[in-house]
């Protein structure tokens, strides 16, 4: 016997299923726990003979099946009811009957795949092609038509001669000593292997880059984009001027746009009157638009302290007597028509917003040039009884 080798187990093979059932009963009855039976197919009654507990695999299936169902339902609920709510076919956002098919499919998918994965990796501890039983005469015979039993050396009761005698009494075909194979090591950082890894990385990244950034922009994948229709910014051979984009017919008015009849006039104020009351909403709209369009030059408080100081000629303050004496219509007209260096804001600010800005400018002017009478009035409004 090779005492320099590390013994894994002693194995015995038998010819019939009855003998192996008997052997399994005897071995488990003798108190061995680290033993195994190898048969080419499951033999009925072997679980009892080996005193195996029922498989706990079903729990994995149960848990993962429930997980699959709840993941599917929650995911669909979150997608179609929360993240991007869509009404489809008049169904409610959470259309449970319509979610059933996918919930069922995901339950089955997760349950089966994880059952098999757990069975192979947790319960079997496979893949394991380095197991000592592999490539033995014993394995070859139980793989085909024999029935074998092994008692492992790590068993507490294991004693070489005792186990051999015990197995011999069962009248086996033959008895085999199985040793651990010599440990083989494979250096990972071989130049060849590293080269292979680098090659794979290159091919994968190059292939991905090519297919996503180049291939998808080649014919026929671009047929949807390259159509013979006119799109904005595209030239045309049909029209004499070569432009794909056409100008509107003369006199076309954009939707919601009313032409301003006082363009270029100096003071059309007698016909322009403010249609909006200075309500809170209107003034806050005016403030918003003033801060966007007017404040870069006129300053947040209309002092003429431009943030663009020096880059443009400084605009006048709106707190001058002249500006305060302007009628609402005049302020509106200046915004619409422009004045001196100031351009027209007609195309950027709508009519209603311009009137709101006028109201807001009035607020600024009043605030900056307040009198004592204003304070009394303010206290009255606020309900304060402050003695002056």
């Amino acid at each position: 016997m090779n005492n320099d080798k590390n013994l894994y187990c002693i194995a015995a093979t038998f010819n019939t299923p009855d003998e192996i059932i008997n052997a399994a009963k005897k071995v488990s009855g003798a108190g061995y726990t680290h033993f195994d039976v190898n048969t080419p197919y499951p033999v009925h009654g072997m679980d009892d003979a080996m005193k195996l507990k029922p498989s706990k695999l079903g729990f994995v299936t149960l848990v993962m099946g429930l997980a699959g169902a709840s993941i599917a339902l929650l995911f669909m609920y979150w997608n179609i009811s929360v993240d991007y709510p869509l009404v489809i076919g008049g169904k409610p956002y959470f259309a449970l009957p319509a979610f059933i098919p996918i919930t069922f499919e995901l339950t089955v998918l997760l349950a089966t795949v994880s059952t098999v994965a757990a069975m192979i990796m947790l319960f079997f501890q496979l893949p394991d092609n380095k197991h000592p039983l592999h490539d033995t005469q014993y394995m070859k015979s139980v793989s085909n038509d024999k029935y074998g039993i092994t008692i492992e050396a790590i068993d507490d009761k294991f004693n070489e001669t005792e186990v051999e005698n015990f197995l011999k009494k069962l009248n086996p075909l033959n008895i085999e000593y199985i040793y651990f194979p010599p440990v083989e090591t494979y250096p990972i950082f071989q130049p060849k292997f590293l080269l292979l890894l680098a090659g794979i990385a290159l091919v994968v990244s190059g292939g991905t880059y090519f297919s996503l950034n180049k291939l998808m922009f080649m014919t026929p994948f671009t047929f949807m984009m390259d159509q013979d229709k006119l799109i904005p910014q595209k030239g045309s051979e049909l029209f004499a001027d070569g432009f794909g984009m056409r100008k509107p017919v003369a006199g076309t008015v954009a939707r919601g746009f009313i032409p301003y009849p006082y363009k270029g006039q100096v003071n059309p104020t007698e016909v322009l009157s403010n249609p909006f009351l200075p309500t809170k909403e209107n003034i806050s709209l005016g403030k918003e638009k003033y801060d966007i369009y007017c404040s870069p030059c006129h300053g947040y408080f209309a002092d003429g302290d431009s943030r663009l100081n020096g880059q443009f000629p400084n605009p006048p303050t709106l707190h001058s007597q002249r500006a305060r004496d302007f009628s609402d219509g005049m302020l509106y007209h200046i915004m619409t028509n422009g004045q001196n260096v100031m351009p027209s804001y007609e195309s950027q600010i709508t009519r209603d917003e311009r009137w709101a800005i006028v109201n807001y400018i009035r607020v600024l002017q009043r605030a900056k040039n307040a009198s004592d009478a204003d304070l009394t009035e303010m206290n009255k409004e606020a309900g304060n009884n402050v003695a002056n």
Partner: protein
């Protein structure tokens, strides 16, 4: 499991020994293919290439090459999809439902039927994928967080289909592979070729036929069968929802789910019988896939054939009984309108011809059953054609009624799908055990202890 399965005749004829069983099943993998094999392969690859050319042209020019247009927007490609998904159902039925029903005769044919399931679902999957028009964008079918901030429509039957078919394919593949692991172990231990041994070792995962493993394995097989059974029923149910959830007369019927499932089993069994007749002959497996097996499958074909026959007549009854004008008009159009020829091909192939299986002699005669099952295959393809095309060709607007005429590319893709299926089947027969070695050994004479159930039990 101490259950008395049956008192029937032995499942394996000729009293083969375990080693002989393995020898017989592993023979195609141990020997070089002969001339007949190459002839068969070249025919199927030719068909596959025809399909590949049609597919390439479809990719390049788009689906305008096909014959479908208004009002027949769904035609050959949807017909082929439903046809192939249906073929797949027999495999899961045999491997899962018959397993749960303790029908031990399934062992001889289960592996092959499962393989056919996988190949058929692969053929089926091509069609909806190319029907989207720009198949390279099919990734949008999956709900993943994308830059558009959009999700898929979870309430659409077409999306249910995506989930049903991919789940079905994955679960079938897993089920098939779990069954193959012990066989890879046996093949690994019998082969003398080093390359084969490496391949088998990798796929066997180092399986040791350990009974501590078998105990979990049998449990897992039971669990998988338990899940595959409702799954297989759900898949064709969901495929039928593609039609039934719409409001087209002829499609909008509640009978569709059971009717489709029965039809799927019917066509699947017919396809399994068709292919098995050749396989058992060519690979000398008459003792493992016996005439009894074929007879039992013919009985299933007879039963499911009558079920679809019942569904055909019930559709007519409901069309009249519901009093919906559009519905009754459509069904009269089906039977006596422009596609009457297709309708009567369907009725004769699916309902009338299988009635011959009432005779025991015909059920057990290989040439006759081959003719009948081929008729069934043809009939079931026409069933899907009738459902899809005749419901669309006369829509609510008489001015747009049109007669659908398929183009060469439609036929090319149909031929190509058969080419793909048979190429995969032919390659499978030479590279993997077409019958489960371990399962057949387990039901052989004397394979189980005398005092414990099994074939000997009285």
């Amino acid at each position: 499991m101490n259950i008395d399965y049956s008192q029937e005749a032995p499942l394996i004829a000729g009293r083969l020994k375990l080693a002989q069983i393995e020898e017989l099943i592993a023979k195609p993998m141990d020997t070089r293919p002969d001339r007949k094999y190459y002839i068969a392969l070249s025919i199927s690859v030719t068909a596959l290439l025809i399909g590949a050319v049609s597919l390439g042209l479809t990719f390049y020019y788009g689906i305008g090459l096909w014959g479908n247009n208004q009002p027949v927007g769904w035609a050959f490609e949807i017909v082929n999809f439903v046809f192939w998904v249906g073929i797949g159902h027999a495999g899961t039925l045999i491997s899962a439902i018959l397993f749960l029903l303790r029908q031990k005769w399934r062992t001889g044919i289960a592996r092959f039927a499962e393989a056919m399931t996988i190949f058929a679902v692969m053929c089926a999957g091509i069609f909806p994928a190319i029907h989207t028009g720009r198949p390279w964008l099919d990734g949008y079918l999956l709900p993943y967080p994308n830059q558009h901030g959009l999700w898929v429509n979870f309430t659409s039957p077409l999306l249910w289909d995506v989930f049903a078919v991919t789940t079905y394919f994955t679960v079938s593949l897993v089920f098939w592979y779990v069954g193959l692991i012990p066989d890879f172990g046996s093949l690994r231990d019998r082969t003398t070729s080093k390359i084969k041994k490496t391949i088998y070792s990798i796929f066997s995962l180092g399986w040791r036929h350990s009974n501590r493993h078998w105990s979990h394995y049998e449990k897992a097989y039971m669990l998988l069968a338990g899940f595959a059974t409702p799954l297989v029923l759900s898949v064709h149910t969901i495929v039928s929802f593609d039609f039934a959830v719409s409001i087209i007369p002829g499609w909008h019927t509640t009978i569709f789910p059971p009717y489709f499932v029965a039809g799927a089993i019917f066509s699947g069994f017919a396809m399994v019988v068709t292919v098995l007749i050749f396989v058992r002959k060519i690979f000398d497996l008459q003792n493992i896939i016996t005439i009894d097996h074929l007879e039992k499958m013919n009985k299933v074909i007879l039963l499911t054939g009558m079920m679809v026959g019942y569904a055909y007549s019930m559709e007519f009854f409901i069309a009249w009984y519901s009093g919906v004008q559009a519905e009754s008009f459509l069904f009269l159009t089906r039977a006596f309108g422009p596609y009457a020829w297709a309708y009567w091909i369907m009725i004769s192939c699916n309902v009338l011809i299988p009635q011959l299986f009432w005779f025991r002699k015909i059920r057990r005669s290989v040439p006759l059953m081959l003719i009948i099952v081929i008729f069934v295959n043809v009939g079931m393809w026409f069933e899907r054609f009738v459902i899809t095309v005749t419901s669309l060709n006369r829509d609510f607007l008489p001015s747009s009624w049109a007669y659908f005429i398929p183009t060469l590319y439609d036929f090319g893709l149909l031929i190509g799908s058969f080419g793909l299926f048979f190429t995969l089947v032919i390659l499978f027969t030479k590279s993997l055990p077409v019958v489960s070695i371990s399962e057949v050994k387990a039901v052989a004479d004397g394979a189980q202890p005398a005092h414990h159930g099994g074939a000997h039990h009285e």
